[in-house]
Symmetry: none
Subunit: 241 residues, 2 copies
C-alpha cells in the first residue's frame, strides 16, 4: 500500500471522534486556520486513515464506540510517532496519566476553548517539525554506497571521505535519482522536475550534467557503477536494493 498523495503545503490533521457536533465544530475552526482535515468516527477507520495518509497530527477522542481510545493510541504507537492530542470528557487524573504514558502528546479535557486547542495544535506541530522525524519524511536520507556517502538533509557528499562540491542542479538530479533508488527515472521527468516543463526535450542538458556528476562521484560510465543509463529511457541509481 502506498502513501496517497495529498496537499503537502497545508498541515494535515486527522480527527477521530464519534460525536458529529464536535467534528463539525473542529472542522470549521481548523479549516479557517488553514489545515487540511481527515475525519473518522471510529477507531478502526481512524487507524486506517492514519496509515494511508500519514497526517501531521491526530486529535483523538477517548470515548469511541467500537474500541477504547487508549487501544487506538496503543495501536497507533506500534508504528507511528505522529503527535496525538487526546480529548476526553473525563477529568480523572489516572486517565490522563495513562493516556500520556501510552504516547499521547497532550491531553485536553472537554469542554475546552477553541483558541486553547488551536494553540496546543500549533505547539505540537511546531515541536514535531523541529526534529526531522523519520516517519514524517518517509525514509532515511543518508546513503552509503561503495566509497560514496551522501547526506541529503546536510547536503554533504563524500567520496572516499573527501567532500565533493555539487552545483544546485547536480545536487537536484542526484537527489531525484537517489530517492528513486533502483528504479528508472525518465529523462523527461528529470528535465521537468529540475529544468521546468518547458525543457522536457533538451536531453543534452542531462547528458552533460550526468557526465559531470559521474566525474565528480568517481563513477566510470563504462563500468556503470553508481549511475546507470537506460538507453532511450532515462537513468537509475544503483546500490541500494
Amino acid at each position: 500500500m502506498t502513501v496517497l498523495t495529498r496537499d503537502r503545503e497545508k498541515p494535515c490533521i486527522l480527527i477521530i471522534d464519534d460525536e458529529s457536533q464536535i467534528r463539525h465544530f473542529l472542522r470549521i475552526s481548523l479549516k479557517t486556520d488553514g489545515y487540511e482535515l481527515l475525519e473518522a468516527e471510529n477507531g478502526e477507520t481512524g487507524l486506517g486513515l492514519c496509515a494511508r495518509y500519514s497526517p501531521d497530527l491526530v486529535i483523538l477522542d477517548l470515548g469511541l464506540p467500537d474500541m477504547d481510545g487508549s487501544e487506538v493510541l496503543a495501536g497507533l504507537r506500534e508504528w507511528s510517532s505522529v503527535p496525538v492530542i487526546v480529548l476526553s470528557v473525563r477529568d480523572r487524573e489516572q486517565e490522563k496519566v495513562q493516556a500520556l504514558d501510552l504516547g499521547a502528546n497532550d491531553y485536553v479535557t472537554k469542554p475546552f476553548g477553541v483558541d486553547e486547542l488551536l494553540a496546543r495544535v500549533r505547539t505540537q506541530l511546531r515541536s514535531y517539525n523541529k526534529g526531522d522525524h523519520p516517519s514524517a519524511s518517509g525514509m532515511s536520507a543518508i546513503f552509503d554506497v561503495g566509497a560514496l556517502h551522501i547526506d541529503l538533509p546536510m547536503r554533504q557528499i563524500l567520496v572516499d571521505g573527501e567532500p565533493v562540491k555539487l552545483t544546485p542542479k547536480e545536487f537536484a538530479v542526484l537527489k531525484v535519482l537517489l530517492l528513486a533508488s533502483g528504479k528508472i527515472v525518465t529523462q523527461s521527468q528529470l528535465l521537468k522536475d529540475i529544468w521546468g516543463p518547458t525543457h522536457t526535450s533538451d536531453t543534452h542538458y542531462l547528458r552533460i550534467l550526468i557526465g559531470r556528476l559521474r566525474q565528480k562521484l568517481g563513477d566510470d560510465p563504462t563500468e556503470q557503477c553508481y549511475i546507470q543509463t537506460e538507453p532511450g529511457v532515462g537513468y537509475r541509481f544503483l546500490g541500494i536494493s
Copy 2:
C-alpha cells in the same frame, strides 16, 4: 565560560517558581522519580541557571516577582529550545494561548495533580529526546570555536578575547546559523526569519550582512573558517560537529 558538568544519566529539570511550598512539593515528587533538580525563585536566576546548566526541561511559573513569566519564556526562546511546561494559577484561555505561542510546550493550571504533572514531564522528555535536538545532546547556548566565543543569552561575542559589537540583524543571523550548527540554512529562510516574508528574494541584503559578519568575526571567506557559503542555497556555520 564553559558548560558545567552534571550528572548526564538523570534527566535534569529546572524549576522556576517563587513559592517555596510549590518548589518543595515538586522537589520531592521529581526526586523520587529520579530526576536531578535545579531551582530558581525568580526569572533572572532562572535564565542564568538555564544558560549555565542547560537542563532537559524547565517548569516555569508565570507569576514571578521580578519579571513576567512570559518575558522569561521569550528570553529563553531567544537561544534555547528546551521544553518548557508553564504553571499558572490563572485559567484564562488567552493566557494559555499566549504562553503556548511564545514557545511553551505545555500549560498546566494550578492546582494540579502531581501524577498528571509527572506524566506531562515524561511526555515532554520523551518527545524531546526523539528528535535529535542540538541542545539536548549537551550543547549549550555558549559556543567556543577557534578564537571565537559566543554567548547567546548574554548577547556577547569575543574574538581573541576582545568584545565585538554586532548590530541586531547581524546577531539574529549569527544566532540562526549557530543554532542550526552544521546544517545549511537557506537564504530564503534567513531572509524570511529576519527581514520578514516580504523580502525572501533580497539576497543582496544577506550577502552584505554576511560580509560584515565575517569581517567582524575575523573570518576569511577564502578559507571558509566559520561561515561557509553553499552556493545557490544558503550558509552554514562550521565548527561544532
